[in-house]
């Protein structure tokens, strides 16, 4: 496995670095440019929401299931949304079989944190009866092809899945929780639209949305989640270090690029219509 990485390192690293020094990317993009997003939603009939999102050659298929459980004692009127990710060995010779590894956990966690602190999921609307019954949403991401920067692909995938959700609405009665015949959809579940932006760093060069060859040779990454005008989450990974100035610059840039991407993707179009 790691041999692949090493071979790429020695051959491609120089080439990638030399390009970056000229502010060029190996796939022709500018330093602050995303690859193309492709999105389709609600294509999984068994799920109560789903999205198939590609970012360049990275592809993640996400689905939503729900359960009804008791709320946490300290949040008696709030539902719960959990994010899981699996880097399927189907998706890359770099991924191994077995229980979720560190990379899978990181993917789920960074996407989760970007959402959690952004007032994205309307947890209070996911309460059926205080202290008794709330929705638990499971947003499960499966990586189908690994083309680099799974985090940003996963962030959009999770968000599109939540927006496409159609969860049967329950009413608390003496006999249990009965279906009203309606569904919780779109803004019943989602409020803010946080996006996560990931930057690679090689030597002293920083760039947005690393593709796979860049990701394999980079020293580290920084993922920043943003809403319309706030930073809601940051995660550094890898052995790179960042200067204070770089961090401040990337914070501001993320809010700015996030705004553009949010407009371009127009995720609310993925709300489903049920007659």
């Amino acid at each position: 496995m790691m041999d692949v990485k090493r071979v790429i390192s020695t051959i491609e690293r120089k080439y990638i670095v030399n390009n970056l020094k000229k502010e060029e990317r190996i796939d022709g993009r500018g330093l602050w440019e995303f690859r193309e997003f492709q999105i389709s939603t609600d294509m999984v009939a068994s799920a109560e929401g789903s999205a198939d999102v590609s970012l360049g050659e990275s592809r993640i298929i996400t689905g939503l299931k729900y359960d009804i459980g008791e709320p946490f004692p300290d949040l008696p009127d709030e539902g719960v949304c959990t994010i899981m990710a699996e880097l399927l060995p189907l998706a890359s010779p770099l991924f191994e079989r077995g229980p979720p590894d560190e990379q899978s956990i990181e993917l789920a966690r960074v996407v989760d944190r970007g959402i959690r602190h952004a007032d994205c999921v309307q947890t209070k609307k996911l309460c059926i009866k205080e202290k008794e019954a709330v929705y638990i949403l499971f947003v499960d991401m499966y990586v189908i092809n690994h083309g680099g920067n799974l985090i940003d692909c996963g962030g959009v995938s999770a968000l599109a899945t939540l927006i496409s959700a159609h969860v049967p609405e329950g009413k608390y009665t003496e006999n249990g929780i009965e279906w009203t015949g309606n569904y919780l959809m779109g803004e019943d579940i989602v409020n803010e639209l946080p996006l996560v932006l990931t930057y690679g760093k090689i030597e002293d060069m920083v760039f947005l949305d690393p593709c796979l060859p860049e990701e394999l040779v980079c020293d580290g990454r920084l993922s920043i989640s943003v809403t319309e005008d706030k930073i809601t989450s940051i995660q550094k990974s890898g052995s790179a270090t960042f200067s204070m100035d770089e961090i401040q610059m990337l914070g501001k840039k993320s809010i700015e690029i996030g705004k553009e991407l949010r407009n371009k993707l127009d995720l609310w179009q993925y709300k489903v219509k049920i007659e």
Binding site: V44, S46, A47, L90, D140, Y142, I144, N145, N175, W179
Partner: protein, 259 residues
Amino acid sequence: MVLIIKDEYPDKLFREDGKRLDGREKTELRPLKMEVGVIKNADGSAYLEWGNNKIFAAVYGPREVHPHHLAKPDRGVLRIFYRMATYSVFDRKRPAPGRREKEISMIISDCIEPVLFLELYPGTAFEVFIEVIDADGGTRCASTTVASLALADAGVPMKSLVTAVAVGKIDGEIVVDLSGIEDKAGDADLPLAITWFNDELSLLQFDGSMDADEFDTCLKLGKEAAEKIYQIQLDALRSKYISIQESVNQSSNTSGGDE
């Protein structure tokens, strides 16, 4: 606690007009679509939609076997890893692979192995990863069919493709290609697979209750259905070849070839 949604298992699995609930005749297949080369990182891959089933298969190999002690000195091994996405079924599946997934993996492996020349690849493995994204009855047949296609896409030498389909009994009548609801509410299920190089069965399972005559009818109908599916597999391979051809032609056109 569960949300109470009145259970909608139908009383009957045939409509008044004698057709099945989804409008099919008894021997009619659900809509079926296949494509190869869908996962760039894999040595070969395929995608299938069959009714509401949506399944990916990716092939890696021949490559080193992990753990090493599973390697065989005199031949290659075929390893199938069948998995279902948590959201591919009505009640969320637990994320870790379960017993059922391991069992189906073994069945698919037994079913495909006869068409491979594993003796040519001592010490290595072909690993086939199957991911069911959406499940709607008959996933083991659909997975076998798409995995066989992915192996062909990977250029693995094969005696023939393998094609699988289920026959079954619903409301006392024998039908082919059970849908999810027919599978659950029906009386019997008989998945089979045909290895075309010798026209024999490499998968045969049965659960239900049938006398010998009914059983013979099932086998006959199963083979007829498999023949139709086999054509769709071949088309999927051909269309990749054609699209490569076209892109070659196109690029020679664009580059101004002298026709």
